[in-house]
């Protein structure tokens, strides 16, 4: 494969495009609402009406508005059908090019939910066919990889990423360019790049959607990274709960190899890069980088103390670059459109966009991508459409079990790393759960504590035993058996677990408690007040 081959595929693919395209979402959310049958029905209807020459039915990845699935969109008319039944297929095909089929529910593709988005990572999501590499190439896929290998030195690539201001999307927001530079300059016989697709936050599905909808983008990002840091082997660590993402990745790797875009001598250069998939087995802690590497090595997923950091000593003791799915997915655009273009998006310290999985007590749930710095209120009220059933927003939870609950009063903060940290939460990987007035915040804290307790690897004392004790205290308080000293003890435990735990899981496990104590302390006090005398447990 050389540049001309790539451009030829692109041309061919674009020419072969038919006048009308029916995009049918076949990502996880819609699949669970039977969208495969919808797609089959559309295929059949098109065939029966003899329209194969003019109409393409394309299975695509997530279109964002998952709560209304299955979704079908007609191009170029832009009609967006929601909650489509397989029986509706003939009517949709009949109406092609005319007004929307009568009687079928549609939604406005220019509604704020769509209009306020800024697709960068998701630019192809819901547009291309994730199971065909040609569909990705038609959107300039693998062009960045070509330019990087043939026209840039590894050092220039790293500088580009530094200049873009990209920060890790896996939670901590560490500057990506800096990390690449460290791995690049560490000497080692072998180096590795790892893509963290463990997505353990129990309220998040961004990485899953990217992998299911545009898998090549992640592979391309990884290949660019490998070239920049001098690695020739990559691993994608995907959680076992995502079978569709795994099978699409497998297909993508196979196709890329066939085209010579992965494997030996990419673009007929001396650069080699192979990617292997490693499947997780149900352990949240394996999202932590050292635990993940231990798992890739076939061991128990217990974290180890850092330093040394993976960049110096990672997989089998070799320098290793580990980044999140969304981080890699940003890389091809940064190369294609330039670091300046990228760094013009977002705020001063948080560049680019962020994908969020909007869920919970909100009208529009699904996947959104917004520039960094948009006010949280805009996301919740305008894009999300607010809370249904006349209730009000009470809090927005970000960052999952490591994050916090942002109270309604703080909804005007801009969404960027620093502002979220200021209100005691974190950007996290992108889970955003809206809670309404009916939500009991102490219960939310207990929910996350139970999660951390179950997911603790058990290696270090504070996390293993502290989460159990905190969970028990929260339980006691919720059951109205708590006393004032229980609250003190809870705070004391938060302090010790946060400051002495070995890895991020334990260090952040107290966050949901701390943040609910900070903004919703009255709910705790209320429960203490309601303590039923007489039903007192022995001390």
């Amino acid at each position: 494969m050389v540049l001309n081959d790539l451009l030829e595929i692109k041309e061919r693919e674009r020419k072969a495009r038919k006048g009308t395209v029916l995009r049918c979402c076949v990502a996880a959310g819609c699949l669970s609402a039977n969208s495969q049958a919808v797609k089959d029905g559309l295929d059949k209807a098109v065939k029966e009406k003899g329209l194969e020459g003019q109409v393409e039915v394309r299975g695509v990845g997530c279109m964002g508005l998952c709560c209304q699935g299955p979704l079908v969109q007609e191009d170029p008319a832009e009609t967006l059908y929601v909650k489509v039944n397989p029986e509706d297929a003939p009517a949709i095909v009949d109406a092609l090019g005319k007004n929307p089929a009568p009687g079928l529910p549609t939604t406005d593709p220019h509604a704020p939910f769509f209009k306020k988005q800024m697709p960068v990572v998701l630019e192809n999501c819901g547009r291309i066919d994730p199971e065909r590499i040609e569909s990705y190439i038609a959107e300039d896929g693998y062009l960045a990889l070509h330019d990087v290998i043939l026209e840039m030195t590894p050092k220039e690539v790293v500088e580009n990423v530094v200049k873009s201001g990209l920060r890790g999307r896996g939670g901590a927001g560490y500057p990506t360019g800096l990390k690449w530079a460290t791995v690049a300059k560490t000497v080692g016989e072998r180096k590795f790049v790892i893509c963290n697709a463990d997505e353990g936050d129990p309220g998040a599905f961004m990485d899953r959607s990217v992998l299911e909808s545009d898998p090549h983008r992640v592979l391309e990002g990884m290949a660019v990274a490998a070239y920049a840091v001098g690695a020739s082997q990559g691993y994608i660590y995907v959680r076992a709960e995502y079978p569709l993402a795994i099978s699409r990745l497998q297909a993508a790797i196979r196709q890329a190899k066939q085209y010579g875009l992965l494997g030996g001598g990419i673009f007929e250069s001396p650069f080699n890069f192979n990617v292997e998939i490693r499947i997780g087995a149900g352990a949240f802690v394996c999202g932590e980088e050292t635990a993940l590497m231990s798992s890739v090595e076939g061991k128990r997923g217990s974290p180890r103390p850092r330093p040394p950091f993976p960049a110096e000593s990672g997989l089998w003791g070799n320098p290793t670059l580990i980044n999140n799915v969304e981080t890699y997915a940003n890389v091809p655009v940064i190369i294609r459109k330039g670091a300046e273009w990228f760094s013009a998006i977002g705020t001063e310290k948080s560049k680019g966009t962020k994908v969020f999985a909007l869920a919970g007590k909100i009208r529009n749930t699904g996947l959104i991508e917004v520039p960094m710095g948009v006010p949280l209120r805009e996301i919740v009220e305008e894009m999300g459409g607010g809370v249904p059933d006349g209730s009000e927003v009470k809090a927005v939870q970000t960052g999952g079990p490591s994050g916090g609950c942002i109270p309604a009063a703080a909804l005007d903060i801009p969404v960027d790393y620093e502002s979220l940290a200021k209100v005691g939460s974190i950007m996290g990987s992108g889970g955003m759960i809206v809670m309404d007035e009916d939500t009991n915040m102490v219960d939310v804290a207990r929910f996350f504590m139970e999660f951390c307790m179950d997911e603790s690897c058990g290696k270090c004392v504070p996390c293993r035993t502290g989460t159990v004790q905190m969970h028990q205290l929260l339980d006691k308080i919720i059951q109205k058996r708590g006393a004032a000293e229980d609250l003190e003890r809870l705070e004391e435990l938060c302090d010790v677990v946060k400051n002495t735990s070995l890895c991020g899981l334990g260090q952040t496990a107290p966050n949901p408690v701390l943040s609910t104590l900070r903004f919703f302390r009255h709910e705790y006090l209320e429960l203490l007040k309601q303590r039923e005398t007489g039903a007192q447990p022995p001390a």
Binding site: S32, A204, F205, A357, G360
Partner: protein, 177 residues
């Protein structure tokens, strides 16, 4: 030969083999291990394959894997019990996995779970005595947009109400008796 494998062989009738040669599943497992060149770091992949083939990981199977990958049995046992995905006991004929991720939780997954626990008479993680139904919980199956989600026998189902879930599980249980 690991002393443990030697012992198992000794306990078997003279004609029997370890692994049982008639069992095709061991062949498939062996092929999978060969693909990984019997490297110890493939342990988790190999356990995935083993569980797919056998449904669950019993001690002899773990031992066989340990032997083939040249790993100490305790290490294999430690890995198999670290990850939630691996079962060391057989699962029921049907499985019902309730997503307990944050989005599903705030939309009432706890009530869903409680109602199923009640009708099935088992707790999460258990299997009914007749071996028909296993009730499991998951830490987010990534379908938060359609919460609360339940996986009935591998099919993700959106916005499940307690009544519907109870109906499904009851159906399985009656079918079995």
């Amino acid at each position: 030969m690991h002393p443990y494998v030697a012992k198992i062989k000794k306990k078997m009738p003279a004609a029997a083999q370890f692994p049982p040669s008639g069992d095709k599943r061991y062949k498939i497992l062996e092929t999978a291990m060969k693909r990984h060149q019997h490297k110890p770091d493939a342990l988790i992949e190999v356990l995935h394959t083993a569980q797919e083939l056998f449904g669950y990981l019993e001690n002899d199977l773990l031992l066989y894997v340990a032997h083939c990958l040249k790993l100490p049995p305790s290490r294999v046992f430690g890995v198999a019990t670290f990850y939630h995905f691996f079962n060391l006991k057989p699962k029921g004929k049907h499985t019902c996995v309730i997503c307990m991720g944050t989005a599903c939780y705030v939309k009432g997954a706890d009530k869903l779970l409680a109602s199923i626990e009640q009708v099935a008479g088992i707790k999460a993680g258990e299997t009914t005595a007749d071996g028909e139904v296993s009730l499991l919980t998951a830490r987010c199956i990534g379908a938060c947009g359609i919460a609360p989600a339940v996986v009935f026998d591998n099919a993700v189902t959106a916005r499940v109400l307690p009544a519907t879930a109870v109906e499904r599980v009851k159906g399985w249980m009656q079918h079995g008796s």
